[in-house]
């Protein structure tokens, strides 16, 4: 009787000390899950399927009609998901500019969870490579596109199908070795 009470008391004393290792097990499980999921791969549900239906208003103050499903197709193009608060977007922006202005590729923008005045200031400062920009203030359309974080860039073919997704910052290597050859190939089809 006394022995069980004592061991129960000992157990009560023990459990707070077990807490850290239990918390760590949970965190470790999430980290392990994080490794199984390659963020650079598009969820297979969307790859080679037509882009989802969507319709977005323009950024208030930018002179276009917004961006919707109807703007996709006709020619291969890029859809760049960006936000003024996103640091890597700033780093990759010169490359997007180059693709639009020097390579003559149509680039549409999805402005993700951004304040209109910040987004406009950003475009004014760094240059505006976009034909159409949709203002996804609440991030709803981003979810339909399976946006994991900004920046992300999609390659959409002439039939409006998503054929490639770049997660994270675009680099010169990705542009030269993946994006440009892919666009060339799509143009020939």
């Amino acid at each position: 009787m006394t022995a069980t009470t004592e061991s129960a008391a000992a157990n009560r004393r023990m459990w707070p000390y077990l807490l850290p290792v239990l918390v760590f097990v949970v965190i470790g499980a999430f980290l392990a899950y994080g490794l199984t999921r390659d963020p650079t791969v598009l969820p297979s549900a969307l790859l080679d399927r037509p882009a989802p239906e969507f319709e977005l208003p323009p950024i208030p103050g930018r002179d276009d009609h917004g961006f919707s499903r109807a703007d996709l197709g006709g020619e291969p193009m890029l859809v760049n998901v960006w936000a003024s608060w996103c640091v890597p977007c700033r780093a990759e922006h010169p490359l997007i500019m180059r693709l639009a202005r020097e390579e003559g590729i149509t680039v549409n923008g999805l402005n993700y969870k951004d304040r209109a005045e910040d987004a406009l200031a950003w475009l004014a400062e760094l240059g505006d490579p976009f034909t159409y920009v949709g203002w996804d203030f609440k991030g709803r359309v981003g979810i339909e596109w399976g946006v994991y974080g900004v920046p992300e860039t999609f390659v959409v073919d002439g039939d409006g199908r998503i054929v490639y997704k770049q997660v994270g910052q675009m680099t010169p290597r990705v542009v030269n070795e993946v994006i440009l050859p892919l666009i060339e190939k799509l143009k020939k089809q």
Binding site: Y17, V21, G28, L31, V87, A121, E125, G127, G149
Partner: protein, 660 residues
Amino acid sequence: MTIELGHFALVLAFAVALVQGTVPLLGAARRDPVLTGIAPYAAVAQFLLVSFALAALVQAYVTSDFSVRNVFENSHSSKPLFYKVTGTWGNHEGSLVLWVWILTLFGAGVAVFGRRLPPTFLARVLAMQGLIAVGFLAFMLLTSNAYLRLDPAPADGRGLNPILQDPGLALHPPFLYLGYVGFSTAYSFAMAALLEGRVDPSWARWLRPWVLVAWLFLTVGIALGSWWAYYELGWGGWWFWDPVENSSFMPWLVGTALLHSAIVLEKRNALKSWTILLAILTFALSLLGTFLVRSGVLTSVHAFATDPGRGVFILGLLVVAVGGSLTLFAIRAPAMQGGSLFAPISREGALVLNNLLLSTATATVLLGTLYPLALEALTGAKISVGPPYFNATFVPLMIPLLLALPIGTMLSWKRGDLPGVVSRLKFAVAASALVAAGYLALFDWRGVLAAFGYALAAWLVVGSLLELAGRIALFRIPIGRSWSRFKGLPRSALGMTTAHVGLGIFIIGVTATTSGQIERILVMNAGDTTTLAGYEVIFKGVTERRGPNYIAERGTFEARRDGELVAEIHSERRFYPVEGQTTTEAGIDTTLWRDLYFVIGDKVGDEGARTVRLYFNPLVVWLWGGLVVMAIGGLVSLSDRRLRVGAPVPARMRAAAAGG
């Protein structure tokens, strides 16, 4: 050839680390002085070997030896020498060499300065350092080898990301690593204590200098990173709650908590298992940061290239190091009964409050950083957590911490006299009220939050100085005697006051920048004039300039006040042909009171008009200044002779010891 020798040195270092990680443990268990005695020699040998390996890699960078794959991928012959050297750690593999070098530097440091530690304890500490090195050397040799050759050697390299070619960022990684790799010592001391089954005030005293060193380097490292983000990213912000920033900030928060709880352990023999836990967690969070940056789990501007194989390896290291230590903690810590009791209102109580708030703050940052990952694992939903979350959770936790700080430093141990302390702080209360009222009356009657921020800063600074004044009985005894009391104060007390005043200065900078930043975005033609916060800003136009490895468009501005030239400011857009990238260099004129921060943007039309972004940032330099003052506080505290285990024992004590 040198590079092969460097590679070989690393393999040797791995072998030495294996010996260092096992033999001394055996020696400590068997009380065998020969086996424990190996540890210091192994630690120093390991340090020399890794130093040689690092030097070999730096040499390959300096001489632009592109037959080395790592040099080819990350350097270019046209890069200035300084960036050739610092480019060594501008990539995953090279930065790991630096990481391990710093690990062995601390190991050798403990071996050299810790000769007075009990032999079994020293052996166990060094064995832990050895085991950590085994893990990371294996990681380097198996998955991330910087010492591989290319055949044939390419003519020139691919270059270093231009955004990294910057003095602030070149020095940021070494400081950061000195900080969070330095926390490995806290981990090793904690593990050794758990293995010995003994934690007492002298343990806390041995631990303290190492934690202080790591903490002050981490403080400087974070300050450098934030300063870099401020001037290089070109939008006037200084902290973005980016996952990678968070992963350096979490060890800092817990390390700060550890510094404070170790005081309680040292002075009052209480909070034993809690201090041990903090020591483990500080390094665990450093390792978690390493994992997040290098595994590609989270995408960020700082992240190195994604490679799941590496991620699995580091996760394995994390599981062994953190899981193992926390399990040992769960087994051994319950036996470590806390020492003396104390009333809730006491110095101990205040330090417990400090620890609770700091660790809760760490938990909120950790939650915000990992939440997107956890949510996706559980529900498949994809979200991102931004600054609003952190501002809403982190800031409210810091306010009670800062409010309680001056009170806590004045409470006495065991049982404090709260009304007495409050009456001693009446000047600080008055100063804060005056500052708040003055701000509202003179600057901005609606700026209640800003007024609160300044009042908080005044409370910290005046409160800390009052505590110091109390110690030396300023104005209560003749000034000469106060001065001699001041000179006799322990350095750790001065260090504390300095660090707390630094925190106050930091708060001033944060408040001013957050509430007082003025931003103007407009299109300017050469010769146009505009106004910004009482300055006339004249845009003189854009010229071209050639740098060593870039071509720059250079915009020139003049800032005038009442017609008089205050500063000529240049902002550049640099194009790096090798890397094919453009960077923006903000033009910044800094004084103690404000920064004028100008950025030129893209061309508008064909006439040479430019979008420009003009910022007026009041007191922004106080922000980093405050952090530097905090680090200086750490340095002052470090010079306290009680902390130097090897410091000569006062003659009186030696005589007593000899007599006894």
